[in-house]
Amino acid sequence: MASLSEKIIQEIKEKKVSPKPKIFFILKNYSVWALFVFSVIAGGIAFLIILFNLTNSDWDVYKYLESGHFQYIFLIMPYFWLVILGLFLFIAYCNYRYTKKGYQYKVYKVFLLSMGLSLMLGTGLFVFGLGEEAEQEVIKFVPHYQTLTGHRMRAWHHP
């Protein structure tokens, strides 16, 4: 009776099994990293637009409105971008976990890393004054953007 190793070698030869090329695994690994980097950048841009929206939310007039401080913050919060930021943080987290060594770190550490990188990038871009430009670019590509992000309108509709 053939031993297991003989059976396996025979199957390898009969079915012409061959090891997948190294480049396949290298590309697979790079694509996971590329998606992680993309998600961090997208998260950074989302945070940049959040900062831009928050700093351009008519803070000088809110005291003349009937809404209280917290209610006003609630009204002007760019929820659309918060959801987008959360989504990309989640995608970045998932991708990091799929990297070769990603499993070695606790969930919260991976999440904090993704979030930290996105927030740092967003803040950096904001400091360079790229908030408005980023939002204008988004307006070109996202249909009904104004409807989705009507936070300013909400504030003025609640005098």
Binding site: S3, L4, S5, E6, K7, I8, I9, E11, I12, K13, V17, S18, P19, K20, P21, K22, F24, F25, K100, Y103, Q104, Y105, K106
Partner: protein, 191 residues
Amino acid sequence: MIEEKTDKELVKLALENSDNFRYLVERYEEKIGRYIRRISMVSNEDVEDLLQEIFISIYRNLNDFDSDLKFSSWIYRIARNKVISRWRKDKNTPKVLRSEESLEIFNIIEDKDDFFAKLVQHDDGKEVYKILNMLKLEYKEVLVLKFLEDKSYLEIADILKKPMGTIATLINRAKKQFKSKVLQDNLNIKD
């Protein structure tokens, strides 16, 4: 001599010529076969089928072997994934108890944990295996890897693809679960 070659050297040889893959199969078939039996309780025929499937998969993915990892951890990981996907395909496979395996589990665990040692004095080992099979897979597999396969925390982390801290927590919880199942089963073990 082949026996003196490291796993990494054997991987290199297998990549050069498929005939050399037999050395890796011969080195690991027994260990992996035993591991499959311990975590899955499948029949001997199924173990052989699984082994064949596992080693073919290892051969296909040889270029993915990361030399930072122990080769054994990598192939245990592949074996575990194959066993789990086999379970998913075939959920109704009857589970078979083998008393010789049970006794082995007893004998090994006996040296390593007071609670298990006490348990040994009360039973011939059959109950231990029965109880292991009542545990959730994640608890069962850490107990098998730690106490039966004698793997370090780092190796278990690499096999299960989980952080080391999580492995330590899982082992503690698994031991507690094991103990509570024993008590439920009226084995009457005293601390």
